[in-house]
Amino acid sequence: MKYQLIGVNHKSAPLEVRERLAIPASRLPDCCRDLTAHPGVEEGMIISTCNRVEIITQTSNGSADLRGFLHEHFHLTGDALDAHLYEFRNKDAVRHLFRVASSLDSMVVGEAQILGQVKEAYATARAVGSARGQLDQLFTRAFAVAKRVRTETAVGSSSVSIASVAVELAKKIFGTLQGKTVFIVGAGKMSELAARHLMAHGCASIFVANRTYNRAIGLAQKFNGQAIKFEDLYNSCDRADIVITSTGAPHAIFRREHGEQFLARRKNRPMFFIDIAVPRDVSPEMAKLDGIFAYDIDDLQQAVTGHVADRHHEAELAEAIITSEVERFEARLHTLDVVPTIVSLQDHLETIRQAEIDRVRGRMGPLTPDQEMAVEALTRGIINKVMHTPITTLKTAARDSEATTVITVVRRLFNLQVEENANTPQAGDGEKSNENTPNKNEVEPADA
């Protein structure tokens, strides 16, 4: 297991730092390719959401310079970033990924969105070929773990989503949401969800503006709302009491002067901006205006901390599941570790068997096909019988920590070659390690 993970999340880094590291979906494939081109990295993939950037790799020696990759890729100088980065290896990396996929590491613990985002990131990496055998195993397992956490604990059920927190905040500002107007800027899943919550609490009408006008129309139709051309955004935005903004714009689209215009036209009635975009859409300067209440992703997190405590117990259950799953995954990987040993042991004995048959064949003279088959069956049967216990022992040992010792002993006893590969089936290129998986299947019948 040579997994390496580096990243930042909402706990380790402020929004300003995450903004700098965020990778837009359009650039993700290139980024994955760059990652696998980095020295020491065999497979790699990147998860970039508004709350986190995670780089997960399978490396040849377990110590690839991933920080170096980040510095190179984002043209960073100095070590300002380093304090915010976390780095995990092997078991810890697996645990972290499991926690992320299960939404235990999320800002709003238990929210379902992150699993979709991880799956999307994984699909991207698969498409460009940067995630193959090893990461494949890891992520398949991660998705299964996420599902298990979801079904076996209540972590996700009472999920205080960002959307419902937004509703509560809106109520703290407007009292009742009856008759309030919502403006969605940038049609996205998350803003749609937030809008749905707001409408369910009584908001009366909705406007949608999007760079792609057709998408705005599509979303507006869902809510019986009105689509607005993006150019008319500033002229019509003051009609909204609540603005949900999540564009992919690289800079703030709502600046101080816009806020002043809105307030003047609204006779200073307050406006609530739910800014779920990273980088942020509402400039901090505008958020300072009296009557503008702007909450970005981080602020919403702060607002939910109280609620998270309620689900502490469920989260503990989920953590226990994660721990046992990490153990299982590790054990499974170790089982793979013994596969080359078993294979070379079989090869070794097969070579001996063939050599012995060849040696005695001369003395026995020509054999009928039936006799030939009988000899084959006899010798093979002896070997399989003899092999049965050592192979079972190897496989059992693989699940414990003594795997390495047992493998070494077996190799020494039988004087097996390729000592180097014994514990590192992944060594070499990714393709090779990939071949190990089918091998294992071949071993299985011998075992049975």
Partner: protein
Amino acid sequence: MALLWLRFALACYFIGLIYAFFALNRTSDLFSRIALHAASLGMVFHFVSLLELFLSGHVVWASVHNGESLLAFFSMTFFMIIYAIYKTTAPGIVVFPTVFFLTFVAAVDEQPVLLTAFVQHKGWLIAHIILIFTGYAALVLSFGASLLYLIQERRLKAKSPSSLISFLPALDVIDQIGYRSLLFGFPFMTFGLITGSIVAMSSYGKVDFADPKILLSILMWLVYMIMVFTRWNSGWRGRRAAVLATIAFIAAVVAWAANYFSAVHRFAAS
């Protein structure tokens, strides 16, 4: 006897005062219920006290202390009306201390009835007193609401998690309480000043604009009008509204204090 009832009322209001000191950082419902009941009981005592004064036959409210008592009672009435509409005790944070202070001063001792000079205009005088004090009470509420608005606005801006669980009502509700009190109080204040002028005119034959009491009253009324206008015209709220409300409040207090310097509005029989 009236004084005794007032002192009972004061004891009840004391509970409200304690509540006001702790309410901002509390989310407990129990405490606000206790304060509410205590305040209601206090109002009953207070009402009995005022009724006794009235039944004694003189225009006894026209003494400084009884005037303060009346203002305290009106403020409490407003508080209760707001509670009935909005189900919030939050304005108590400002109203309770004000009421306690006014009642405390009024309950110190009995004062002789002093504004005897206007006894021939009794009807106008009573109208003047009631109108003006209603206006003052509305101003107290409006001032309280703008302070609460500032606090709630700060909390929402600071994005502290406490803003979600705080017992303060929604920003818009606080705003409505303040604005409605303001609108409600304005005509009372205006007519109160007019009736006051009528009493003065008929007593002295003219209104002396150089008199500090009259000057300050007009100033207060102007600030009041500016508040109503800016709010109606450009929706001033939050910090700017709070500044105006504070000015109006100070002007009102100063106008009240001017009784001691005024020649025409003197309580002491000269």
